[in-house]
Symmetry: D2
Subunit: 123 residues, 4 copies
């Protein structure tokens, strides 16, 4: 039992969260609750589950299913998240994509690097 | 410039967040804002900076410095975070420790594994 | 194109490798080539692909398919890796499991912690 | 003791290894032993220790100190690793940098993406 728990602890392991998300979400206009939702979606995606249910998400959050659905809808509407159509051997399914989020984060961090670099050139 | 930005992106890299935190924080009585604060502290710790300032944290969150200080104080009071004294070659300094958080998470997840395992034995 | 490459870079992201593997593989009698093979298997597993082909592995290593097959066979024989039967809705399939490796690593690291702690109590 | 071991297990945690390294090291002309050495250096760097000793590395590898020194020297010579001078408040010190490695990996993966994309445009 003990050993099973320990092995499970290692196998469940860790989720790699891009530093760029932790460093810039607030500059993108996201608050902590919205960022946590995106981290949850990212955690499911990175484990190979690309369309977690509202129930999956609600089980891990302080939000109930309706609130999860509503929060996801707003994140999609504001362009941080999208739903894409997948086609695996002619089986069509839906999946969340965080590409819009990564693109916004890349643009924000890039523009800041350029800005700070042009400032240091001025000096 | 381009290459520098890309290398920086890889070097800033990712923070490994234990899945146990994402899976159980809500059962510990933490909300998303509190969990994000703990993830930020964890991110600083894992990069070797064990006493980020209120300013460091406020720069990444939707909270200002006073609100960060207040949130950290409450997390310490409720036993999710502690401040420890370090002694490096007789240089004393303070550091945040997330040991209380990991201990609570381990106890919660362990009790659930035991419970679900005893349930399945009953069947 | 640029942006697509960058997003891909973030989405392919990072693999979380347990520190316990990096710290103790040599004490387990594994060499660097064997450890890299186990890291590759771990990387596939953690992305949700639990039975990479010899070809998948050979494409990332300096070994060809036959050598990969041979190395995997030896790792299984020596008890670092196993192949398990999975049953998803009555669809049976095979999957690699690293549970034997984690168990060995846990036992090794635990015995060392106990030893070093009993030593420090003796002083 | 048990709890201390478990907390330590979580705190020692995981090292985030960029997928780009696992996917392309062999195309860069690196073998598994060389890749493991670079992963070890990366692990030290990402924990904030930017100049591990030969002894630190030898303790984790199947190589002794002299072989570690020799391997590092060859990796520097072949342009996968560099030693940089750091200046922290006028305290000068040396540190390993993996920037040459990331640059090579980025160039290799980028050229392959461009190539495969131009191929698919030809069809």
């Amino acid at each position: 039992m003990e050993m099973k728990f320990l092995i499970n602890l290692i196998e469940s392991g860790s989720i790699s969260v891009p530093s760029i998300l932790l460093d810039y979400y607030n500059q993108l206009g996201l608050n902590e609750q919205e960022c946590m939702m995106l981290i949850h979606v990212h955690a499911f995606l990175s484990k190979g589950d690309d369309f977690p249910t509202f129930d999956n998400l609600a089980a891990r959050m302080t939000l109930d299913e309706t609130e999860c659905a509503e929060l996801l809808r707003r994140l999609i509407q504001r362009g941080y998240l999208s739903i894409i159509q997948k086609n695996d051997n002619n089986i069509y399914s839906e999946a969340y994509s965080l590409q819009p989020l990564w693109e916004k984060l890349l643009r924000t961090s890039y523009s800041q690097v350029v800005e700070s670099s042009s400032k240091s050139n001025d000096e």
